[in-house]
């Protein structure tokens, strides 16, 4: 327990973001969501409830803003005061953006939220003391706190429904923070299988629950380090670079002509989720 020991541990936990000193190898999980394909149907959100043991908080707690949907589908319409939203709405599936320089990680007093070697923003439920500073510092407000002890709350999981709970995912008790994990339980299982076979996880071998459910395949997910992955190709084609807070393509005068962007990129959190702008036909 010497100070040098402490500092050594420290340097392992906190390396520079986005990782220049430690390139992601062999994994960096990332996502791309095509908003033109997203129809706002909420299948992803329900799939997330099913996969990740999310509690249904009920009407009263929802009213107090205590809902627990890791994946929420936001809906926007035009701000220009037109009478009807005659170009439709914009839907946006929003979950933890797994930022490379996550604002939540640095502020946690007990280091319960960390960056993993494969580029995830992890949350250690057992370590969390519930200061909620991470949520306070999250620009996207995608962290959800267990305001109550849901496993013992009436009608959240009646006896029969506990049998549906995914044994690969912890059921969280009161007072801890939680959020989207990119279905880390699936990733870990896939990585273990791959490791046993002496290879890395193949493209398409692992899917997140939201991606798997999405009826329009708007969500793609994978290892962005792997040049064969769809996610890598999408990010490359859209010229969105993970470790930039200003994309070179946006500097061009005539506009990028590409629709990849990251939300609140200018905050330098380096999110791992790229969105593709919704497209609207100009001819009608």
């Amino acid at each position: 327990m010497s100070v040098s020991n402490l500092l050594e541990n420290w340097s392992q936990v906190r390396h520079e973001h986005p990782v220049n000193d430690k390139p992601h190898d062999p994994y960096k999980w990332a996502m791309a969501i095509d908003l033109d394909a997203c129809t706002g149907c909420n299948a992803c959100s329900v799939a997330c409830y099913a996969e990740n043991n999310l509690p249904v908080v009920g009407k009263e707690k929802f009213q107090h803003g205590q809902q627990m949907h890791w994946m929420r589908v936001e809906r926007y319409w035009d701000e220009d005061g037109r009478e009807f939203p005659d170009q439709g709405f914009q839907f946006l599936p929003m979950m933890c953006q797994q930022c490379e320089a996550a604002p939540c990680e640095t502020v946690c007093p007990v280091a319960a939220t960390n960056h993993t070697a494969d580029g995830l923003n992890s949350q250690i439920y057992n370590r969390c003391i519930g200061s909620r500073y991470c949520s306070a510092n999250c620009p996207f407000k995608v962290r959800y706190f267990n305001w109550y002890d849901y496993p013992t709350t009436e009608n959240v999981w009646p006896a029969e429904m506990t049998q549906q709970l995914n044994p690969d995912v912890s059921v969280r008790g009161k007072g801890v923070m939680e959020k989207c994990t990119f279905c880390v339980q699936r990733l870990s299982a896939a990585k273990v299988t791959a490791k046993g076979e002496g290879r890395i996880v193949r493209e398409g071998e692992v899917q997140t629950a939201c991606q798997q459910a999405c009826p329009t395949s708007a969500i793609s997910f994978g290892n962005i380090v792997n040049p064969e992955s769809r996610v890598h190709k999408q990010w490359a084609a859209q010229q969105v670079e993970l470790d930039k807070d200003k994309q070179a393509k946006n500097e061009k005068e005539e506009g990028p002509g590409l629709r990849g962007y990251r939300i609140l990129e200018e905050l330098r959190a380096y999110p791992s989720v790229m969105y593709l702008e919704r497209v609207r036909e100009s001819a009608v």
Binding site: G40, V46, E74, Q87, P215, L264, E281
Partner: protein, 741 residues
């Protein structure tokens, strides 16, 4: 997760399924219970199975995957269930399915909550005053036999939701044995008018729509991404359509009076005066100018100025839409529930179909459907016309014994029908029920059903894709409650009461199903394979894919019989149209007791756990209403009170209340949340088909003075992004999609 090879290996392992379930079931329960408590094992009520000696297919900590069929709606998506330690945990789409190709909607995902629902009926219940008294199955069957004794065939009625496959066949046999033809098939929400119009226009009820081949889709109120026909399938086609060919992205134009999920995804959402969809279609034909013969004659009067006046759509939009349709071919025009829900719904649908024919889409984006080689297994469909005739019979006191299965007419029948009162006039009412829903509560005998994840069955979807298919439904786990039964088993038991000799060979419905399938092994693609192999392979796949015959479609455009009613004046006392909103997750309310669906925000308003009245902000200002005001919505039939949500995607002369909520029974998650707009629906019927015109109810609204906080996911900023780049949008002329991945 384990890799797909070993999944297949495990899933396809040729062992006897019954044995498997027996072992899996009770050991699984033991594991399940020991995981989170310790009482039952300590009490000695459960037996522990040693993992050391477990059978090959029991791998602790490893999921086993089984294919089955989703029963949450009638689209017939094929599912793949993850089972661990004997419990089904999660449903995914079956990647081999032509319908949903590995995808599953939120409603389908919630299927596990149907199965594990704490409010399921667990014992046969016999009415004793206002209470239900638990009885044994033997007693229940004996009681049915007793009540049926001496009753004439036409004094018996069987009401059911849509059904298909072997269950339909078996039920048909049972009804034959009773000598009754009174099988009423009733789905509260069904595209029945469009089906009838399609038969006239194309010669088939439901052709195969190819969104993926269309460059422009013009949809008149068809919510194909939300709740129309086969939404998961259409969503996949939609994704294709948006990608387009050669980077030319498909264009979606939605015409409706109340925005649906599909409308919210349109490139151009055109709001029309309720009921004038057909007029707009004729107006577009007029502008296109390519129609000949009697069609040209018909549309001559529908010049853009007149159409614009009647529909409220601007002349320039009509012309732009027509220009786009002319420019980009093939296109696809769809008639949906918003167009058909009027007294002249058939005319609307016919006009819309006519537009398809004028555009030459038939044969290109509208293809002939395949038919299943076993017509007796094809889905039985029906809508309110069937319910109406049952209701008339009930009102006349005609029926001595009434059965109800997979329908909840007390909840979904339009209020003006007074179905509940009439239902009470039946002598003996048997409900096959999953929950004690509104209809089951009125029954004399309630028989508890297995969930779709515990039961055997086959299903033939109405809307099929490449080739025909028979969907297999198989148990993913052992019965959760000892005293529930599969519908097939019940019908078989009842049938044995009538024709013991014919059916004595079948121990249970599983035996019947297996026998029936094996009998037609050759036709089902199993020629030359031994029975067990065929059967196991069929179960492994969960789908029987068949070639199926494809007919030809009528391509000839004709305006015969297309006469629009004169423009109706506004109703002085009830100035607003009531548009019942059909949402993707709640549909007709049969799954409202699944908490995931209650808490899943409505995509358009983001409201949860409650009903709302959608009003256009302009109209609301006029009436002095703000969000959260409780208003009373009154029709000629009745009134409901609900909170207001200001919604720009609705015609100012219309209000919309979603259906599916407002249960006063069913279970803890459904009861007491929201209001039921079916209650205030007038009985206006569509002229040609006699189906309920769901959009014809007129209402007025008045403030009650109360105000609540609307429980919704949307924050205080509403739908605004406050200048941040959050959900961004770009127009096609600024973007080159051809290089995208």
């Amino acid at each position: 997760m384990i890799d797909s090879d070993s999944v297949k290996q495990l899933a396809g392992h040729p062992f006897d399924r019954r044995d498997f379930l027996k072992v899996l079931g009770w050991s699984g329960t033991a594991v399940a219970l020991s995981g989170c408590g310790n009482t039952s094992i300590e009490d000695g009520r459960e037996t522990v199975v040693s993992y050391v000696e477990a059978s090959d297919y029991m791998v602790p900590g490893i999921g086993v995957y089984y294919n089955s069929t989703c029963a949450q709606c009638d689209a017939g998506c094929n599912i793949n269930g993850r089972v661990r330690e004997g419990r089904v945990l999660k449903l995914e789409g079956n990647p081999d399915s032509g319908i949903n190709k590995g995808k599953l909607c939120g409603l389908g995902q919630a299927g596990v909550q149907h199965h594990y629902n704490p409010d399921r009926v667990r014992e046969p219940l016999l009415r004793n005053g206002s209470k239900g008294e638990a009885i044994t199955w033997d007693k229940a069957y004996a009681l049915i036999a007793e009540k049926l004794a001496g009753v004439q065939g036409d004094e018996i009625a069987f009401l059911s939701g849509g059904m298909s496959g072997h269950l339909k066949v078996l039920l048909g046999n049972y009804l034959d044995s009773l000598g009754t033809r009174n099988h009423f098939v009733y789905e509260a929400i069904a595209p029945s008018v469009v089906r009838a119009a399609n038969v006239k226009a194309y010669g088939v009820e439901m052709p195969r729509y190819r969104l993926d081949k269309a460059k422009v889709v013009l949809s008149f109120g068809a919510d194909f991404l939300g709740a129309w026909v086969s939404p998961v399938h259409f969503s996949q086609q939609y994704a294709q359509f948006r990608k387009g060919v050669d980077g030319q992205r498909g264009v979606l134009i939605q015409v409706e009076s109340k925005m649906t999920l599909t409308g919210a995804n349109a490139d151009r959402w055109l709001v029309v005066k309720p009921g004038t969809e057909g007029v707009l279609a004729l107006g577009i034909i007029n502008v296109l100018g390519t129609a000949t013969g009697d069609v040209a004659e018909l549309v001559k009067g529908y010049d853009p100025v007149r159409v614009s006046r009647e529909t409220g759509v601007s002349v320039s939009h009509i012309e732009k839409v027509a220009a786009l349709l002319r420019m980009r071919s093939p296109s696809l025009v769809l008639a949906g529930s918003a167009a058909e829900g009027y007294a002249h719904g058939s005319q609307n649908a016919a006009a819309i179909n006519l537009l398809n024919q004028v555009l030459g889409n038939v044969g290109k984006t509208i293809e002939a459907p395949v038919s299943v080689p076993f017509p007796q297994m094809a889905p039985a469909k029906g809508n309110t016309a069937a319910l109406k005739s049952l209701n008339d019979g009930l009102a006349a006191g005609k029926y001595k014994v009434v059965f109800n299965f997979a329908a909840n007419p007390v909840f979904t029948a339009p209020g003006a029908m007074k179905f509940k009162d009439n239902f009470a006039k039946a002598g003996f009412k048997v409900a096959f029920a999953h929950y004690l829903d509104e209809t089951a509560l009125q029954a004399d005998l309630v028989l508890p059903l297995d969930s779709a994840l515990e039961d055997w069955g086959t299903q033939v979807p109405e809307y099929m894709t490449e080739g025909a298919q028979i969907n297999i439904q198989q148990p993913l786990m052992e019965r959760l409650h000892a005293n529930t039964r599969g519908m097939g088993d019940i019908v078989l038991a009842l049938l044995k009461q009538r024709k013991a000799d014919e059916y004595k060979g079948f121990e249970d419905y599983y035996a019947y199903l297996r026998g029936a399938m094996l009998q037609n092994k050759g036709a089902l693609g199993g020629g030359g394979v031994d029975d067990d192999t065929f059967w196991n392979e069929t179960l492994t796949r969960g789908i029987v894919k068949l070639a199926g015959a494809t007919g030809a479609l009528t391509t000839h455009a004709t305006a015969a019989g297309l006469v629009f009613p004169a423009h109706k004046e506004a109703d002085e006392h009830y100035p607003l149209h009531l548009i019942p909103g059909v949402t993707a997750s709640l549909r007709d309310g049969r799954h409202t007791n699944q908490p995931w669906l209650q808490e899943s925000p409505d995509p358009l308003t983001t409201i949860v756990w409650d009903s709302w009245v959608e009003i256009h902000p302009k109209k609301a200002t006029e009436l002095g209403i703000v969000e959260g005001d409780i208003v009373e919505v009154t029709s000629r039939t009745g009134s409901v009170k609900a909170q207001v949500y200001l919604f720009p995607g609705i015609h100012p002369e219309a209000v919309s209340i979603p259906v599916g909520r407002g249960h006063d029974a069913m279970g803890r998650y459904a009861k007491g949340y929201g209001v039921n707009p079916f209650q205030i629906m007038d009985t206006v019927f569509e002229a040609a088909t006699g189906e309920l015109a769901m959009h014809e109810t007129r209402v007025k609204i008045s403030k009650t003075g109360q105000r609540v906080l609307v429980v919704k996911d949307e924050g205080a900023a509403g739908a605004l992004q406050m200048g941040r780049k959050i959900a961004s949008r770009v127009s096609t002329d600024q973007i080159d999609l051809s290089k995208e991945v």
